[in-house]
Structure formats: C-alpha cells, structure tokens
C-alpha cells in the first residue's frame, strides 16, 4: 500500500498523480475513490490532468475517455485499457494498492 494524501486534500472532482514506479492517477469522483494508470494508452498524456465527469475521465490531449471502474476506453481514439489499482480511505488518509498486472503496451 502506498500512502497518497489526506482525503481532505483530494476533494470531489479532483485528482492527484502519484509516482509508484509507473505514474498512477487517483480520482475522487463525487466521493468515490478510483486509481488507474496515469498515462493515456493513446499518446503520452497525464489522465490526472483530464476532465472528470461521473465515473469517466477524458484525456486532456485527444479526448479519449476511460471508465474509472474498469479502466476500459469508453470513447475514441484510445483502444487499450489502462490498469486499475486498489484505492481506499483509512482514518482520513487515501491509500493505493498498485496492481500486479504488467503494463500493456499500446497497440
């Protein structure tokens, strides 16, 4: 488990980027926490800088959308999923459990 930040420092509608070997983006989607790989599978861009709407983040570069719950692309141009990671709150602190699935190369 990696300590991310205090929950009060990650209010609803915001995201934070975390260096865990590969960068991980942690989102507070209207109260629910999600963690996914930060780098878009289409081209090099940080999804933590993306536009959050419901459980979907839109890449700031080319507007690919990803479902935060599954990591799957829900809109073009991305075709490959990002990995999801565990995210939880304990005593007001946000923690991430990085996935042990290898990173998949973009097609």
């Amino acid at each position: 488990m990696i300590r991310v930040c205090l929950l009060k420092d990650l209010p609803p509608g915001t995201a934070v980027r975390l260096d865990a070997g590969v960068p991980i983006a942690v989102f507070n989607a209207d109260g629910d926490l999600y963690a996914i790989d930060d780098t878009c599978t289409h081209q090099d861009a940080s999804l933590a800088d993306g536009y959050l709407e419901g459980c979907t983040v839109e890449c700031p570069l080319h507007a690919s959308t990803f479902d935060l719950r599954s990591g799957k692309p829900s809109g073009p141009p991305a075709k490959t999923a990002v990995r999801t990671h565990g995210a939880e709150v304990r005593d007001g602190v946000v923690w991430v459990l990085p996935s042990d699935v290898p990173v998949q190369a973009a097609p």
């Binding site: 915001t14 800088d49 709407e53 700031p60 507007a63």
Partner: protein, 393 residues
C-alpha cells in the same frame, strides 16, 4: 419499431450513431454509406501527429475490437447523390438506391477552397486522409510553405511544418487570427505563438491569387506583396456537405435544419455532426458545430430520437487544438462582448486559463498549455451552466 437504418456518412458522427443505435438495443439492419474508400478514421491527427510522421495510418482507425458486433453493411467509396426524404430513399452516385425505415444524415463538411486554385500543383486543403498523405509527401521535400488562413487548421499545419524544418508564413485576412472562436484578445495571444516559433504571421491582408502554371510558385496578396511559395495550404473554413439533399424537401440552408433532438422535418430522418444545423439549448438558436467532440456525442441523441425518444442534446461545446507543443482547449460558447479574465497562470509564460463571462455568468473557459487547471475550470463551467439552466427552467 424501425427495422432498417441507413447512415449516410462513415466518419465519426456516422460511426458514433451506429454504436449508439446498437447500444440502445437496436438489432435491425444498418447500411453505412461513405464517400471515401477508407474505413472510418480519426481526422484530428491529420494536421498534427500523422502529418508530422509520428502516427501511422493504421493508428487513425476508429474501428476497434469492441466494434466486431456492430453488424454493418458498409458501402464505402460511393457518395450519396440524392435523397427522397418522404420515401427515406438514398440514391448513390452509381445509381443504386437504398431505402429504409430510418435515415441518419452524417455527411460532414469539406474544406473551402481558394477560387481558381484547383488543379495547381503544390496547393492543398486538409480534410481527408488522402489530402494529408499528399501534403505529407510534399512537405518531406522541404521549402517555403505559405498557409492561407490563420485558423486552427492553418495554425496546426504551421506548427507541424515548422517542426519539420520548413520556412512557414501564415496569411490571415482578419486583423487578428481566431477572432471567431476565441475573440480578439485571446486570438491575438494564440496568434503570437507563431512568432515564438519562427513562423511569420501576416494579418489584415487578403489573398489576390496564386502564381504558377503547373505548380504554385508564389502567393499574391491584395497589398501587392508577392510571397514565394513551394507549397500552399488553404485553411479558410469548411462547408457542410448538403448539396446532395437539394431536392429532398429538407431545409438545408447553412446545414440540415433539426430540432434540439436532431430530428429533421421528415419523419424517421435525423441529422448529426458537421452537416447539421441543430437548435442549441444553450445558445437558444440553431447552430452548426464542426467540433470533433460534437460529432462524437451528439449521435447518442440522434440514435435515441430515431428509436422514438425526444430528449434534447445538452452537452456543452468543447474543442481542442495542438500548436507548438501547447494544448489549446475551449469549453462553452463565447460571444462578442464577453468579459475575458486570466484566472490561472500567465499569458507571457504561455500557460494559462482564461474565463469568458456574460452578464456576470461564466459562459466559456479557455486553456493554453494548462491542461490540469483547465479541466477543473471546465467542471466549474459545467456546474455554472447547469445552475443557469435550472434557474431558467
């Protein structure tokens, strides 16, 4: 319940309508007619990564593994030539006729051309993959590039060509580029990016004509200047592809007229994307929008309408551009007279967010080189507009 649908147009809006129909549970026949011989592909990279050589043709493909179940009868490479809206019968250029219970008009737009430029070598517009392949080959030889039009296509091609080492001049007829989408103040800021990167920007001067017999040699300006040119790219806007609907009985002035739910005046006929002029609930008037995101999102509404719903499309406009390594993003609808304020970063550092306000209300947000802060302001805009709609409702 309809049992057959014809989608006229095989680009993002047409494909997105097909996906939306299937995700709504429609399992009838779908025929997609496309003027180009290519399967659906993504156009934004044509002026950027594809032109620069960092994205391949195969990476532009819009169809992916998730589309295997779409079950579409593709008719590519033959444009639609005529339409009988009452019979919902599409006539193709080869004379064949496709009739169905529902029809989706998604024929997009095409690049405006410079009068008299057709047939002259070295002169390009940029709209299709074939346009981009031809331009890319020519840019590889290097030389002097003159771009007619300082809009987003012109600016993106200037940026890409500069990175490839060409000597680039942009000619803009208005005193400031991008006045329409960004307003004069922010248009000037984006126009200044050219000089930052060694591209010459000439403003307030129109083009008199092109010089050359087989191949272009120069561009003559209305002030008498002659700009030597090895390659010319014309980026002076787009026109809706609606001429094929001239005898359809539909209103096609400035795009196919629809209500806020994408319905035309003909039962069972909807229009989406660049070719449509839909009533916009935010602007409170019909508008034709050429943005990629619009072509992606509006089809969900059109598909639902075709299947019997009548919900209005309410998404806020959004578009982006990439110039000189900077992301330029605009959400919302700005208009002349809006008050512009830089709310994050600084214009001088080329990293900022600016807001547009009208009567004290937030109506649009612009970001340049500031993707994270822009995304948060875009959320604020969405909340502000939702509150306004609730008050108005």
């Amino acid at each position: 319940m309809i049992g057959s649908v014809t989608v006229v147009g095989a680009s993002l809006a047409g494909l997105s309508t097909v996906r939306a129909l299937r995700s709504h549970g429609y399992d009838g026949r779908i025929v997609v007619i496309g003027a180009e011989h290519h399967a659906p592909y993504d156009r934004p990279p044509l002026s950027k990564a594809f032109l620069a050589g960092t994205a391949s043709e195969s990476e532009l493909a819009l169809l992916g593994p998730d589309d295997d179940g779409l079950d579409v009868d593709w008719r590519l490479g033959v444009p639609a030539a005529g339409f009988d809206a009452a019979e919902r019968a599409v006539t193709l250029a080869d004379g064949s006729v496709v009739s169905s219970d529902g029809v989706v008009l998604a024929t997009g737009s095409r690049a405006r051309e410079l009068p008299g430029a057709r047939g002259l070598g070295g002169v390009y517009v940029l709209r299709t993959l074939d346009d981009a392949i031809a331009l890319k080959d020519d840019l590889a030889a290097g030389g002097r590039l003159v771009i007619v039009g300082g809009g987003f296509i012109g600016a993106e091609v200037a940026s890409t060509a500069r990175s490839l080492g060409l000597v680039v001049t942009v000619v803009e007829a208005m005193p400031t580029p991008l006045v329409g989408p960004l307003g004069a103040e922010m248009g000037a800021v984006c126009g200044a990016l050219h000089a930052d990167h060694g591209v010459h920007l000439l403003t307030g001067v129109g083009v008199a004509g092109l010089v050359g017999s087989d191949r272009v040699q120069a561009v003559d300006l209305l002030d008498g200047t002659r700009l030597p040119a090895d390659i010319v790219v014309v980026g002076i806007g787009a026109l809706p592809n609606v001429e094929w609907l001239a005898h359809s009985g539909l209103d096609i002035a400035g795009g196919v007229a629809t209500d806020a739910s994408c319905a035309t005046t003909a039962p069972g006929v909807v229009a989406v994307g660049d070719c449509a002029r839909a009533y916009d609930v935010h602007a409170r008037r019909p508008v034709r929008i050429e943005h990629w995101t619009h072509a992606l999102q509006q089809p969900a509404t059109a598909a639902a309408t075709l299947l019997g719903a009548s919900e209005p499309y309410t998404q806020l406009p959004y578009f982006w551009s990439e110039q000189y390594g900077l992301q330029v993003q605009l959400a919302g609808s700005r208009a002349e007279g809006d008050v512009v304020t830089v709310v994050h970063g600084s214009v001088e550092e080329r990293s900022f967010v600016a807001t547009y306000e009208r009567d004290g209300r937030l109506v649009a947000v612009l970001g340049v080189g500031a993707t994270g802060p822009f995304s948060r302001w875009r959320r604020s805009l969405r909340a502000a507009v939702a509150a306004d709609v609730a008050l108005a409702g």
